[in-house]
Amino acid sequence: MLAFLVQRISQALLVMFVISVIAFAIQDGLGDPLQEMVGMSVSQEEREALREELGLNDSIVVQYLRFAGKAIQGDLGNSYFYGKPTLEVISEHLPATLELVIGASLIIMLLSVPIGVYAAIRPQALMAKFFMGVSTVGISIPVFLTAIVLIQIYSIGITVEWFPVDTGWGQWLNGALSTEGGLPSYGRGDDLTHLFGTWYSGFFSESGLLHLILPCVSLASIMLPLFIRLIRAEMMEVLQSDYIRYARAKGLSAVRINFLHALKNTMLPVITVGGVQVGVMVAYTILTETVFQWPGVGLMFLEAITRSDIPLIVAYLMVVGLIFVVTNTLVDLVYGLVNPTVKLTGKKA
């Protein structure tokens, strides 16, 4: 176990090193800090002196080491646009993204487990086939499109006038297909509760919760089909195994077999995959936040790109890279702990 731990952590450090090199290369290649700091009127000699003072004439290796040393101390430079430390800007935007992810994860967990288990227990049932069909289509719909459709239906509302208005059934059908709209589709609302530090939460007020609905549902919609399929596939495999047949032969109730014995072994791979999906989730939050103008780190990153705010781009890359590496390593370690059959050291199979 110790060897496994050392191997994983050194690998994580290596990946983090590569990310920092890439981030440094971007910072070094894209921006000339001098141009950002001084105007046109500054003479060539003064520029040279400033260059020397800032250490821009040092070798690349020295400059990288300085960058990495500062990064470890939590100093990733100042954002050009916000005019304050980049990490401070990120920590102001991070809670919004985290709440989006938490809300979406809740929806995914509450829906995928029952639907996946149901589809595995009754694969031939009409409802199960319906769910699987919907999830196949769902995988083909990009997250921003789901979001736009949701905005059209629940925020703007649709009026259907396809059926004759002068008949009772026509009016009823028109009414049934039309929607009111009215759900907020922009930002987080202004009724946020201060929790601690930079964390202002939307979970404790009606307006905050209403603003969370559409973004969370959109973000959940893209991951949900994947989890339903995964849970169904794993569960079906578990249901074939000997110990389930033994439990059936023993006469245990179906509920007990399905939910106590089978579900437990289904969830292990699901949790692992779920952990790895954090990476995918971050990419999708950028899209979701763009659609809903959600003031999280994804939107901040995109705005930093349009403003050529290089330090903020670099800081975002480092922070997101760190989140990835930490979650992936944790998932690996937890999996190694829970599942004893996993090859702990890098032995050849």
Binding site: I26, S140, P142, I156, V282, Y284, F301
Partner: protein
């Protein structure tokens, strides 16, 4: 008549591929829809009522007209017009063309990279294998879309808006190709590992062929069917990635729109009630991706290669 004398066409007609295709309604419908869309896109200049790239044909007075069947529609614009007065049908045909071009180009690039790295990793093994597969693992753990967004962002920041817009098609092919090669490399590597234990590879080695020749002339042809399957699905993924990048403003400019940038530019007008500018290209995108995915599923079932294992 023996099989050897059959023409290529007859051999195809008696193959299992054709047999299972004829029996699968979903595959037939998907294939027809896809062919229709590809033809319409390729011959867009012939079918499209107007040329959306030609500013002389656009009249701002025609902007935001609804599709036929709604109040205020103009029969000259069957799917309505966008905010600049461009005919939606024409922009969608041209947009599908751009999307398909990028999707196809990106898959060609990632297949080239994936096949090269997959063959090297699988056949040479050892250090080459562990380095290449580690890179692939890390890239996959970041998710292909995230890698594409980051590479796109860096390119856009370094080239500037105008320059990026001009060479956007090549940029997107490059970005998506770079972001998604690990998928194909893994599949190739898995099949190479299985193939290289076989006798014909030993025979080739004994005959003194060079490593390059064995890899590309002997092993590669036997790994083509899984590559084919995964490349189909990857086209759909590349089209979605392109749409996502364009939607974020990291892709095609509005003057030369793809389906993704059409959705993006239409989204600005959805609050004013012009849903068709964004939702019709969206529907086309979903149908395109869906039929490719369904065909990919069918191909996988028929060819049944061991995907992602090894």
């Amino acid at each position: 008549m023996t099989t050897a004398t059959l023409s290529r066409w007859n051999r195809f007609r008696e193959s299992f591929l054709w047999y299972s295709f004829r029996r699968d309604k979903v595959a037939i419908v998907s294939f027809l829809v896809l062919i229709l869309m590809v033809l319409a896109a390729v011959f867009a200049p012939l079918f499209a009522p107007t040329d959306p790239y030609d500013l002389a044909q656009i009249d701002i007075m025609n902007s935001e007209l609804p599709p036929v069947g709604m109040q205020g529609a103009d029969s000259a614009f069957p799917l309505g017009t966008d905010a600049q007065g461009r005919d939606m049908l024409s922009t969608i045909l041209y947009g599908t063309r751009v999307s398909l071009l990028i999707g196809f180009g990106a898959v060609v690039l990632q297949a080239a990279l994936g096949i090269l790295f997959g063959l090297l990793a699988g056949y040479l093994g050892g250090r080459v294998d562990s380095i290449l597969m580690r890179i692939a693992d890390v890239q996959l753990s970041f998710s292909t879309l995230m890698v594409a967004i980051i590479v796109g962002a860096v390119f856009k920041a370094s080239f500037g808006n105008l320059m990026f817009g001009e060479i956007a098609i090549y940029m997107l092919i490059f970005i998506i190709g770079i972001a998604e090669w690990p998928q194909i490399a893994r599949t190739v590597r898995a099949s190479v590992l299985a193939e290289k234990k076989k006798e014909y590879v030993d025979a080739a080695k004994v005959m003194g062929f060079r490593t390059n020749r064995i890899m590309f002339r002997h092993i590669l042809p036997n790994t083509l069917s899984p590559i084919f399957v995964i490349a189909t699905v990857q086209i759909a993924n590349a089209i979605i990635s392109e749409a996502a990048l364009s939607f974020l403003g990291l892709g095609m400019p509005e003057t030369q729109p793809s389906l993704g940038s059409l959705i993006k530019s239409g989204f600005d007008y959805i609050q004013s009630g012009s849903w068709w500018i964004t939702l019709i290209p969206g529907l086309v995108l979903v149908v395109l991706v869906l039929v490719i995915n369904l065909l990919g599923d069918w191909l996988r079932d028929v060819m049944n290669p061991r995907l992602y294992k090894g």
